[in-house]
Amino acid sequence: MSKPPRKRPFPRSKVCRFCADSSLRMDYKEPNILRIFITERGKIIPRRISGNCAKHQRQLTTAIKRARNIALLPFTVPRR
């Protein structure tokens, strides 16, 4: 019996960074912190990869969306 090929593990953190570190605060006015949680193309990194807890991920999405609205973060980063 052959096992299905193992999927390549992707880098993921196990703990929510906002829970672990209370000084890291998310605010739509601080794009540099939010930038950790978006991809190169400007997409929000899913919870399963970033390891955020549900509560903080929810807050993060609103923060990122607000930041996008006032042009602090990009909606998309076009491919060259």
Binding site: S23, E30, N32, I36, N69, I70
Partner: protein
């Protein structure tokens, strides 16, 4: 009364005295409707993450104020009409704010660190920080004192973990120009 925050992006070509006039105008507007301005922050000219009206730079202003909901409707109406305002975003911070109690609390808070208590009604212009990073750290410092108290020694850890994060930092400038 509710507490609101409004970020507006002003055309960077507008001269400083015009900007002064604009901020005065909006302060007047808020006050004329029974609200009060807590602070106005000038973040200076910043690069935008995407083009807004074919411009890639904008001057950011943050209004922090207290008022009834009709202040927001009127303010947003005015912002929409104004040619100098490229974009704006208003956020409700708090639902129930008692203006008098709030002012008292603010003054009490301000008293120990700052020798001269600044009246909340007065426009407190933040120094124009040319460097983006400086502006960010500056505004983050006063607004969340309690979290800093708890985890002040961990600040170094934050920046470290930020660096080793799995996603490289996105540079919006590169993609947009090309």
């Amino acid at each position: 009364m509710r507490r609101y925050e409004c970020v507006m992006i002003i055309d960077p070509d507008v001269p400083d005295d015009e900007i002064r006039k604009l901020t005065d105008k909006y302060t007047e507007l808020i006050k004329s409707r029974g609200g009060d301005v807590i602070k106005i922050e000038d973040w200076g000219s910043k690069r935008l993450a995407y083009l807004v009206g074919k411009r890639d730079k904008g001057r950011y202003f943050l209004f922090d104020f207290v008022g009834l909901p009709d202040v927001i409707t009127e303010l947003e109406r005015q912002l929409k009409i104004s040619d100098e305002i490229m974009k704006y975003l208003s956020v409700k911070l708090d639902d129930e704010v008692d203006l008098e109690a709030f002012k008292a609390a603010q003054e009490a808070k301000e008293e120990p660190p700052a020798p001269e208590p600044v009246p909340a009604s007065e426009i407190t212009e933040a120094e124009t920080a040319p460097a983006e990073a400086a502006a960010v750290s500056e505004m983050s410092a006063p607004s969340l004192p309690e979290s800093e108290q708890i985890a002040a020694p961990e600040t170094a850890v934050v920046s470290e973990s930020a660096v080793e994060g799995e996603t490289p930092v996105v540079k919006p400038e590169g993609g947009i120009n090309e």
